[in-house]
Symmetry: none
Subunit: 250 residues, 2 copies
Amino acid sequence: LLTGAQRDRIEVVLVSPRNPLNIGAVARAMANFGFTRLTVVDPFEAHWREARSAVGAESLLQDANVCATLAAAVAECTLVIGTGTRTHRKPEQPVLLLPELVSRVGVEMDRSGRAALVFGSEKSGLTRDDLAHCHLMVEIPTDDRQPSMNLGQAVAVCLYELCRVPSPDSGEVRSEAGRAAATSRVLDLLAELIQGAMLESGYSPKTMQAANRHDLLVVLRRLRWTSVDAKRALGLFRRVLFGLQNRGKS
Amino acid sequence: LLTGAQRDRIEVVLVSPRNPLNIGAVARAMANFGFTRLTVVDPFEAHWREARSAVGAESLLQDANVCATLAAAVAECTLVIGTGTRTHRKPEQPVLLLPELVSRVGVEMDRSGRAALVFGSEKSGLTRDDLAHCHLMVEIPTDDRQPSMNLGQAVAVCLYELCRVPSPDSGEVRSEAGRAAATSRVLDLLAELIQGAMLESGYSPKTMQAANRHDLLVVLRRLRWTSVDAKRALGLFRRVLFGLQNRGKS
């Protein structure tokens, strides 16, 4: 995982962006994933620093660099990465798929480098001339029928990928670990009560009762009860059984 | 990797979205990653179908479903996934990190299920009541200092993740693959019957009924019902309820 100090050595560079709302949205996504350095090259409109879409990233937008050319923007970088979506153009640079990016960027960080992720304008993406400043190109795996992404969304996806944690153990398992599972004893108790409710309510004919009991045990275990949930169910079925058994006595 | 036919069984559900431009941006991201089914629940503004931000996704937006409630929107789904960013609230549902999502969704697709990815409104995200309709929650790993994402960007990141790579499937998960999961509609029916049994059996005082209903929705989703098991439970609770209601009449 990239450290905060490493993220500070990764620049997001927007080439000739047209819509200030998109620039603000880029700033917001950067803040969401802990990136701080934004450079805007030759913006189309003047008043982009006030873009209201930069929710929670106002100061990031205020502190953004402005450059006249892409060459100036990436001058201090050791790895310049052009970005794009799936396309039929064959770039002259090596092409990585986005999921392959983080290891390449990690290498650059390990050797104290500085990386730039470069995004083209909303209209046309990066030109061949822009790409000439890039060491490689990274492709977001979009659908062939509608490859063209919104700028703010493309940046969000790329930065998410850089922060995406490889997770060996499942979070679902972790979050279940906090909750004690029901013991077999509790499940058997529950099965007994449910069986009682089945009998009292006339759920099934006598000939089916053994099969139903078997199914009940199997199903109860398939359901993966927590201890707390199983105890709630016990309480409910106690009441239900009591209610059923006292029919006609009220 | 999810096939096109599988992506058609994954719904994107927006709960009470406020800004039509965000709805359009969601549609665009869906088209970018090959998803087709959008449902809008109780939108804040009327004229969202014409949102100009739905570049290349105009027909997807035209064909979107509208529902009055989240329950109706996910009625046919077997796996309902709430989405959010890093937060200090502790949800009652199991929490997955976004990179762990694809294998869980893959399982659901393998057993012919239908999944919903549910996104809350721009203002507040999903409420506790919304989450009561979800089997689990997936968390986008955002920065603690600025966790709140733009809606269109959050959807783009989640859909990108689902299309990112072939999923490594775990053994446990494979064993579930053969069994059809219960739909949300069936779970809601079951909740209704159990509530009836609670009432008739005097399980809880009136003041607790709203809280009990909430807990019931949460617990039923935590239990991971197969379709067959849920139908058995429906049958049982129908009998039980009938039995309880006819107390004193025999």
